[in-house]
């Protein structure tokens, strides 16, 4: 069966689609948008903060396991250089 539609019904739908005045409706939407949400906002903010912290932790934990093998040498060299630099700093102080 194709997606063909009954032209008579289609015409009725087109006729029923009348432009509706927007002023009242827009005022209602704008009022609702500006209305303070109270505890819902607090809950939403806490949920967002928790989600951000958890996703940051997950990324931090997963990151070392995602390093490409070809870059392991570079990482090892950087790590070694960092340890040497920290040691020298400690010796100097």
């Amino acid at each position: 069966m194709s997606d063909e539609l009954d032209p008579e019904l289609l015409r009725l739908f087109v006729e029923a689609d009348q432009p509706l005045p927007d002023a009242d409706f827009r005022n209602r939407v704008n009022e609702a948008l500006n209305r303070p949400q109270g505890w819902r906002d607090v809950v939403r903010a806490l949920a967002e903060a928790t989600r951000a912290v958890l996703s940051g932790l997950a990324i931090g934990i997963a990151a070392p396991f995602r390093i490409r093998t070809s870059r392991l040498g570079l990482m090892a060299a950087s790590g070694t250089a960092l340890v040497i630099w920290a040691t020298l700093q400690m010796v100097q102080s």
Binding site: L5, L9, L12, F13, A16, F25, R28
Partner: protein
Amino acid sequence: MPGPALGRTDEPAVVALAIFGDDAAFSELVRRRQSWLRNLLRRLCRDPMLADDLAQQAFLQAWRSIRSLKSARAFGPWLRRLAVNTWLAQVRAKPAAQLSSIAAEAGARGPEQADTLTTGEQLDLDRALGRLSPDERVCIVLAYNEGMSHAEISAMTGLPLGTVKSHIKRGAEHLRTLLRAYRPIEVTRHVR
């Protein structure tokens, strides 16, 4: 109130501004899309007041989640999905008893009893749509009002493609029967 410059800006640019939190841009989107969305929901609900409430909810939800919109050009279909989902949630939240009484009403006043309706009722497409089951109605409205393909309707509603096709076929037959008395009036109007 959006400025005159926003009123002349093309929609994707206005959507992009709204994504960055510009509430005047979002208000402009409400101005542009309200009539279309309210008409769509009036086809789905029988009650214009309820349709406006659902349209308002859909716009509020759109404002809260507009940052999740992947492409500014997809705003229209995305907003339509929000509106249809808002309506579906409202239909599904109704107690089972209320839904079965609606179905019983639809069944009791089925095609065979269409002639007992008044002419005024038969002229009203929204009331005729209200006699279809919610699933039939959403399929018919998305196909006829929104020009969506059967596959798109299936993807949006989660109904199997075959079910969508049969809902549209049976729903259209049902509507034709309910609106049967509309035709002679239309012919008279054209003759004048």
